[in-house]
């Protein structure tokens, strides 16, 4: 009898001790595995840019990305804001180029996998995206014909080896663009259709070279990925792959009660979609309505997938073709950002509204209504310990 009791007592102790170990349900394990970087599929070819995987184009693109010569006053390059040693962003609430912009610089890891670009998705390819800051008066502030002249003067031979002969530049004004100052616009309109098309072609190729370079910017494995791999294979986690109790709680909240994984899903922690999450507007900035205003812009872009500068077949244009054009949920909807590396690069959100992850988590817990449109976020009852745990988990994605 004694022995039986002793045995029972021992079982109780063993059972109680077992509760402290990370214990995930099969469904949780499946979700965790789906977030792990090893499930990231290989980058798909971009048939709209036939230079996307041409090494010489990527090399030229890398030169251009860091070249301040590609700006009106020779002081700004892509890398002014997308800093290579800062996850290709700049740590500012709003980016500063030739002037101060209204949005936060987006980090670029894995960007070539996205269907839409910018916080509001107003461009539909990586190469069309690259053409936008070049002519934005607050960013690089240059103009189309000046860039084409610059390419010929500075990179003529390299350009022609990749893209074929440059067009005839006789009679092409030094400064002209459909988007520039009034004089630049007038100069653009005075050009012949063939001249405009030729310059647009050179301009599109600048974007295609830069995009080829950007395809190499990919996220790297983090502590979370080492943890997830061990969990999937059943190996005993070692070294920094061991998660603390707090980190495990944070992970469980992220994929469970917090609902974070509904939008921040897959190995990049993004659904590539647009959502109104009730983020308040930043003070002193002009009204920003997000995705709803981007629809017309991407449709009007001459460099979009339906335009004349796309390579390959129009069958690659599914995203643009089946884009949601008018729905109430597009109001103040912004692109779901990847959360990889986020802990190491405050501030957060499309205009740097929050300066820490604590503020971000507090925002999700409170779920304040949106200033316009309807927020998809519902209030969460989170204890202080649970909030800290969510932040601790997010940090494992940046270590």
């Amino acid at each position: 009898m004694r022995r039986l009791f002793r045995f029972l007592a021992l079982t109780v102790i063993v059972l109680l001790a077992g509760c402290g170990k990370p214990d995930f349900s099969d469904a949780e394990k499946k979700t965790i595995a789906s977030l792990s970087l090893n499930t990231l599929p290989p980058l798909k070819p971009d048939t709209t840019n036939r230079f996307a995987d041409v090494p010489a184009a990527a090399a030229l693109g890398s030169t251009l990305f860091f070249d301040v010569g590609l700006s009106r006053d020779g002081t700004v390059s892509c890398s002014t804001c997308h800093k290579i040693d800062r996850q290709f962003q700049d740590d500012l609430p709003q980016a500063v180029g030739v002037g101060r912009t209204n949005r936060r610089t987006m980090p670029l890891a894995g960007v070539a996998r996205d269907p839409w670009f910018f916080w509001d998705g107003r461009r539909d390819s990586l190469w069309a995206q690259a053409l936008t800051p070049l002519e934005n008066p607050l960013e690089q502030a240059g103009n189309r014909t000046a860039y084409a002249h610059y390419m010929k003067a500075r990179f003529g031979e390299r350009y022609e080896r990749i893209f074929g002969p440059l067009p005839d530049f006789s009679g092409i004004p030094l400064n002209a663009s459909p988007l520039g100052t009034d004089t630049e616009k007038a100069a653009w309109n005075a050009m012949s259709g063939a001249q405009r098309d030729a310059i647009n072609g050179v301009y599109a190729n600048i974007g295609k070279a830069i995009a080829a370079f950007e395809r190499s910017i990919e996220p790297g494995p983090t502590r979370f990925d080492r943890f997830a791999l061990d969990l999937a294979t059943g190996a005993e986690p070692k070294g920094d792959a061991v998660f603390s109790r707090e980190e495990i709680l944070g992970l469980k909240l992220f994929i469970g009660k917090g609902n974070c994984v509904t939008c921040h899903n897959g190995p990049r922690f993004t659904d590539n979609g647009f959502h109104n999450t009730g983020v308040p507007p930043a003070a002193d900035l002009p009204p920003d309505r997000g995705r709803v205003d981007a629809v017309a812009q991407v449709e009007a872009d001459p460099f979009n997938c339906f335009g004349a500068y796309r390579d390959g077949e129009a069958s690659a244009c599914g995203e643009l073709r089946f884009m949601v054009k008018d729905a109430p949920e597009l109001v103040r909807a912004y692109k779901t950002p990847s959360l990889r590396g986020a802990a190491a690069r405050p501030p957060y959100m499309h205009a740097g509204q929050f300066s820490s992850l604590d503020e971000v988590v507090a925002h999700y817990a409170k779920a304040a209504p949106s200033v316009e449109g309807t927020s998809e976020i519902h209030p969460l009852r989170l204890s202080d310990r649970e909030r800290a745990a969510l932040v601790a988990f997010l940090k494992t994605l940046a270590e």
Partner: protein
């Protein structure tokens, strides 16, 4: 003294039995206790019974996060193929109060009452709904399919 021990042991024994019951319940209960899911059948009668519709992914499998084509097959009550139907598609995720992330369209008639529905994209796992408004010579009707990922 001895009786105290006996009580203690008896207490422990009871606790062990209780723990055992708890463990048994925990182990046998379905892990992610989900409420009874929505009807996910791929073939349905339309709401007013005008058609029988079936809706399947063209490539057989559903891949999250990618543009996909599905095939909607329309037959009349008597089993005849429905041709030249006009089809409008809407939907969303009822538990997240948002609509579809894309606007799918019927892009092609494949014969035998089969229509290609292009531009579908399921951006997250969970319960999706797709609503079809169908009209043809046989009349107008609607049908709702649930897709759970």
């Amino acid at each position: 003294m001895a009786s105290l021990w006996r009580y203690l042991l008896a207490g422990l024994g009871l606790a062990a039995v209780l723990a055992g019951i708890l463990v048994a319940v925990y182990l046998t209960a379905p892990r992610s206790a989900q409420p009874v899911g929505p009807d996910v059948s791929r073939t349905k009668k339309t709401d007013n019974g005008l058609y029988v519709a079936s809706f399947v992914p063209e490539r057989g499998v559903v891949r999250q996060g990618e543009l996909e084509s599905w095939v909607l097959t329309l037959k009349t009550k008597t089993g005849a193929s429905v041709e030249r139907a006009a089809i409008a598609i809407s939907g969303g995720m009822p538990q997240h109060n948002h609509g579809l992330p894309t606007s799918p369209q019927a892009t092609d008639y494949l014969g035998e009452g089969r229509y290609r529905i292009e531009g579908l994209k399921f951006t997250m796992s969970g319960w999706w709904q797709l609503r079809f408004a169908i009209s043809s010579g046989a009349g107008s009707d609607t049908v709702l399919f649930n897709v759970v990922l």
